[in-house]
Amino acid sequence: MKIHEYQAKEIFRKYKIPTSNEKAAASLSEAKSAMQELSYPVVVKAQVLVGGRGKAGGVKLVKNEAELTSAVNSILGMNIKGLIVNKLLIAEALKLESEYYVGITIDREKQTPVLIASASGGVDIEQVAQQTPEKILSVSISPLLGLKSFQARNLGYQIFNDTTLVNSFVSFAASLSQIFFDLDCSLVEINPLVLTENKLVAVDAKIVFDDNALYRHPDIAQLRDLSSEEPSEVQAKKADLSYVKLDGNVGCVVNGAGLAMATMDLIKRYGGEPANFLDIGGSSSPDKMREAMRIITADKNVKAILVNIFGGITRCDDVAQGLLWALKEEHISLPIIARLVGTNQDKARTMLENSPITFAKTMTEGVKQTIAALKG
């Protein structure tokens, strides 16, 4: 789960990480009243759960109220990669002497968290990592002992000459590590970490939480900003479905993420465009299947639906039941091609015998039939 910069900064301050002076605002009047506690120049920053807001015009430096008004008006409501900006962060502009990067994420290969730091922050750190990997410093963090001061110091002395700055870097790293472990993060990141007036300050902040661990952090789970997410994806999440909306016209309902991706790949291979990724998950239930059909048919781009199930823990009869309910309640007129094999497949076939659903024997056959149905 991602949260907004302003929310991440609140967590940072709780963990004693210095940030710029700043306030969140959801309207022009809130932005203006924020200025009672801030001084110009300030930076107005779109709060949106996707990268690249700067290039999209979602970040503006303003020197006075007139500029503030114009910036707020232009950014609020802006559409950045499909997401609408509902909130802004107004932050006092700092004199940036240098920009660094520091973050913690999971190193899948070493199976530990890893502290990453670079003297080349501020720009696209992934580009730095690809083009000049020697500028990226990193050290594995023991998942049992946590980050040790000496580890952060070893990195710090490679980035800073000044011991005061090294010590400051060490406490930034310690706080990030604490946040990472305390709150079950997948990523905590400061980019840029800024040197201003001989002090280090977190000018941006990014935290991604491990969805699987949210059950033990109810306060964090509440930070989810549903208004910033695709509504159909929110609906899917509620039904415990794994769903990603895409731009094509072939809806697909599959069990298992691997098979779902392979199904999408095959649709594309045979000339179609998938309208979504949808995994109904491991343990099957007719309700989830019905909800899946509701979500897909709500997407007006969808012209045909392929149901591809290879039953294991998922039972084909549960899927059939959900399909029957959806057909009855939602009045679906789209062509539906179903390929159901595995656990209880015969029962499922029997249940769907009198439905308008077309059966396919194999995955490839199902894909071909679906694309044929599209064309009429």
Partner: protein, 289 residues
């Protein structure tokens, strides 16, 4: 032969009294897997499908001589179940449970290094050595005893590909779902190593997906260590960057781990790449016939 599980596997089902645990205990029994015990704290003394239920794994081992367990308990309790199984010195623990927090898994894999227990999973479909034993949820009909070893990050996609191999008459020696999570107990390389040594296995299929660099590492390993014919499939070629595709592992991070990267890595070391599940039949025909 077969790897990891065979007719000597004596299985405990941890979480046998739950919906999934009970259902699949029966399915495994039907496959003639030696399901010797169930464990559910508080249900000790009862039985499920005639299988005796114990309060602790230690008790179960003492009474039944079990050497393997499969974990169906909810994610929240799965870490404790894994620790318990490893502490009781089982040889193999297969974790079907999904949704275990990553930091929990990191601690577990670290802990397991100091034990004799091998973990497969979590978020795994389990293992099947057709005709000998099934420790997992794969539907029996997709498999038959034979000579192809399969190792996969996916569940249902594996059944799909295996069913073609079965229909073509080759059959499988062992099929392993290593699990779709970013942190897992047993990886591609561990399984490739076992398949290379297994005399019954004549060809290997590796089924990967976008996210992480496990497939790239596996390709590197294959180039130096695998002499048997090997085939690869990668799911997620059509996935847009930075969109999460359900598996926690399937995030394209920093331009690495794309389907393109993985397919290139496979082809570079001579792994025959298949682009459509049913293609596997034709490719096996060319190699094994």
């Amino acid at each position: 032969m077969a790897i990891l599980i065979n007719e000597n596997t004596r299985l405990i089902v941890q979480g046998i009294t739950g919906r999934d645990g009970s259902f699949h205990a029966q399915q495994m029994l039907d496959y003639d897997t030696k399901v010797v015990a169930g464990v559910t704290p508080g249900k000790g003394g009862s039985d499920v499908h005639g299988i005796p239920v114990f309060n602790t794994v230690r008790q179960a081992i003492e009474k039944t001589g079990a050497n393997t367990s499969i974990i169906f308990v909810p994610a929240q309790f799965a870490p404790d179940a894994i620790y318990e199984a490893a502490d009781a010195e089982l040889d193999l623990v297969v974790c079907i449970a999904e949704g275990i927090p990553t930091l929990d898994m990191i601690k577990i894999v670290n802990y397991l290094k100091e034990t004799k227990t091998r973990l497969v999973g979590p978020n795994s479909a389990g293992i099947i050595s057709p005709g000998l034993s099934k420790v997992g949820i794969p539907p029996a009909m997709a498999f038959s005893k034979g000579k192809v070893g399969i190792v996969s990050r996916s569940g249902t996609l594996t059944y799909e590909i295996a069913s073609h191999i079965t229909r073509a008459g080759y059959g499988e020696s062992t099929v392993i779902g290593i699990g779709g999570d970013p942190i897992i107990g047993t990886n591609f390389i561990d399984c490739l190593q076992l398949f290379e040594k297994d005399k019954e296995t004549k060809a290997i299929v590796i089924i990967g997906e976008i996210g992480g660099t496990d497939e790239e590492k596996a390709a590197e390993y294959v180039s130096k260590n695998i002499t048997k014919p090997i085939f690869g499939f990668i799911a997620g070629q059509s996935a847009p960057a930075d969109k999460r595709m359900g598996h926690a592992g399937a995030i394209i991070a920093g331009g690495k781990g794309t389907a393109k990267d993985k397919i290139e890595a496979f082809e570079k070391v001579g792994i025959t790449v298949i682009y459509e599940p049913e293609e596997i039949t034709q490719k096996l025909n060319l190699t094994l016939k």
